[in-house]
């Protein structure tokens, strides 16, 4: 037997174990349980673990603070900006980091998850893919396990989690964004190409939104004319928004990891994703929280570094 079979068999275990393990049924979900006729409904109860209550209370408190006029502003929004320490490669035997990595010039870039890849043989040609690529920097070494770094001390240039040819990206600073071009071989034959992007937002200081949106992403130049004016207005506000550092998950209701109450259905009340596709099709997104906290959806930033705007200015995204 292969472990894959065990994984597959696990997929079909009892439903209640699945929902119970992640607290998905934990607060308000009603479900017919333990009744063959399905007539009787039983409301499941919230995990009554003390830590959950503490986190919830803390979160509510912080939201009230933010909603009540950003009372944290004077102490957190220092003029010197927020320093994001350099990313280190995962240590041997550490738990999985699970993110695509690429090293260059002593910096560690993380995969953005953005691809220029259509799946169409007409589109994913060498010519169309390479138009996004700038200077060729070399071949990625493909020597970092997803969960382990067993190489020499320090950052080796073009060490990476996957192979491919590494390039700068047309229109972007080499210190901020790189791309890697890979090829694959579809069943029907031929070769197709895809391009994936890596960004480095560690080892830098960010003071306000424009340090990211303009100095690095060049959004005012890259937004298509068809962009919703309300979104444009919001991005203008973000440019002026101060960056703040927030302890792990204390304020945001992370869109992917569940809110502290364990009730995934309530997350949509607190956060939403603003997706933007610039003219070069390298889609970016922001997680916008109802309390005015806005996170650039990239691994270096997630959960800890936020731009903060007036909560009223994000309301249009929740309507």
């Amino acid at each position: 037997m292969k472990p894959e079979q065990l994984q597959d068999a696990l997929n079909e275990i009892k439903d209640e174990y699945i929902t119970d393990a992640h607290g998905e049924n934990s607060v308000t979900e009603s479900a017919s349980v333990g009744n063959a006729k399905g007539h009787k409904k039983k409301t499941r109860t919230l995990w009554r673990h003390k830590p959950f209550r503490i986190v919830f209370a803390t979160t509510v408190g912080l939201i009230l603070l933010a909603g009540g006029g950003l009372l944290l502003s004077t102490s957190l929004f220092g003029k010197k900006g927020i320093y994001i320490p350099p990313r280190e490669l995962p240590k041997p035997s550490s738990s999985a980091d699970m993110v695509g990595l690429l090293c260059h010039n002593g910096k560690v870039y993380v995969s953005t998850g953005a691809y220029n890849y259509s799946g169409s043989s007409d589109v994913d040609t060498k010519e169309t893919v390479f138009r996004y690529a700038g200077t060729y920097l070399g071949e990625a070494i493909d020597n970092i396990d997803d969960w382990n770094w067993n190489g020499p001390e320090g950052v080796v240039d073009l060490a990476s989690t996957t192979g491919g040819s590494v390039h700068t990206v047309v229109g972007y600073d080499e210190d901020f964004r790189l791309c890697k071009i890979g090829e694959w071989y579809p069943e029907e034959g031929g070769v197709r190409y895809f391009i994936d992007y890596y960004e480095c937002l560690s080892g830098i200081t960010l003071t306000k939104g424009s340090d990211l949106l303009e100095d690095r992403l060049h959004l005012s130049e890259m937004l298509p004319d068809t962009t919703d004016p309300a979104v444009k207005e919001f991005l203008a506000l973000l440019n002026e928004a101060p960056f703040v550092y927030v302890e792990d998950n204390s304020v945001p209701y992370n869109i992917y990891h569940g809110d502290p109450t364990g009730d995934f259905r309530r997350k949509k009340n607190y956060s939403t994703r603003l997706k933007i596709t610039p003219i070069d099709n390298v889609t970016i997104s922001f997680i916008v929280y109802k309390n005015g906290y806005v996170c650039y959806n990239q691994y270096d930033m997630s959960d800890n570094y936020f731009m903060v705007v007036d909560p009223a200015s994000v309301e249009f995204l929740f309507q």
């Binding site: 894959e4 597959d8 275990i13 439903d15 929902t19 119970d20 998850g113 990891h257």
Partner: protein
């Protein structure tokens, strides 16, 4: 909308079933897919495929717990996509790690000719999970069903990472014993 109403829409072949499913469970399914794939674009595609899967399987199914029904579809699609991605060498994330850990649970002489049907193995797993304490079961499934990183599990349950690792190790040992007891002998 209540699950029963959504399921009724599927049975009536009313396409609102999809939008209601997306509204209520889209993010949950995304979190399941993302836990496996660690990639937003791929996860979104898997969630969309989940809706198609639900549309094609309800009817004949009438799930008692729609969230789990959808999560199972999402997980299956995401694992398939990840396996396909691994063959193209684009990274295995938690999947590869957990797979290595699960290997410890497989009796060493368990030969291919002894291979159990998946549903029989699932029955054994259900029995095994029943015997665990609630806490052990939750931690085990966070790791091996949702493929959550140890770090996240530790945070979720307010445990130290070493405690989580130790719990998982003991649970894997119990699973090995359980499988052997079920006639899967060394």
């Amino acid at each position: 909308m209540e699950d029963t109403q959504i399921i009724a829409l599927y049975w009536e072949r009313d396409e609102r079933a999809i939008s209601e499913t997306a509204e209520k469970y889209g993010r949950y399914c995304h979190s399941v897919a993302y836990g496996i794939l660690q990639n937003n674009e791929d996860s979104e595609e898997c969630v969309n495929d989940t809706y198609t899967g639900a549309w094609n399987s309800i009817p004949p199914h009438k799930p008692e717990l729609l969230s789990a029904f959808l999560a199972k579809i999402t997980r299956r699609i995401s694992l398939n996509r990840l396996r396909s991605r691994l063959t193209k060498k684009r990274g295995g994330g938690q999947y590869a790690v957990t797979l290595g850990e699960l290997e410890e649970c497989i009796p060493s002489s368990f030969a291919a000719e002894d291979m159990l049907q998946t549903h029989e193995l699932t029955r054994i797993l259900n029995e095994f999970l029943e015997e665990l304490s609630t806490e052990e079961r939750r931690v085990f499934l966070c790791r091996y069903w949702y493929l959550d990183p140890i770090k996240d599990i530790a945070k979720r349950f307010s445990f130290g990472e070493s405690k989580v690792k130790m719990m998982l190790k003991r649970t894997r040992e119990k699973l090995l014993t359980h499988l052997e007891k079920e006639g899967i002998t060394l």
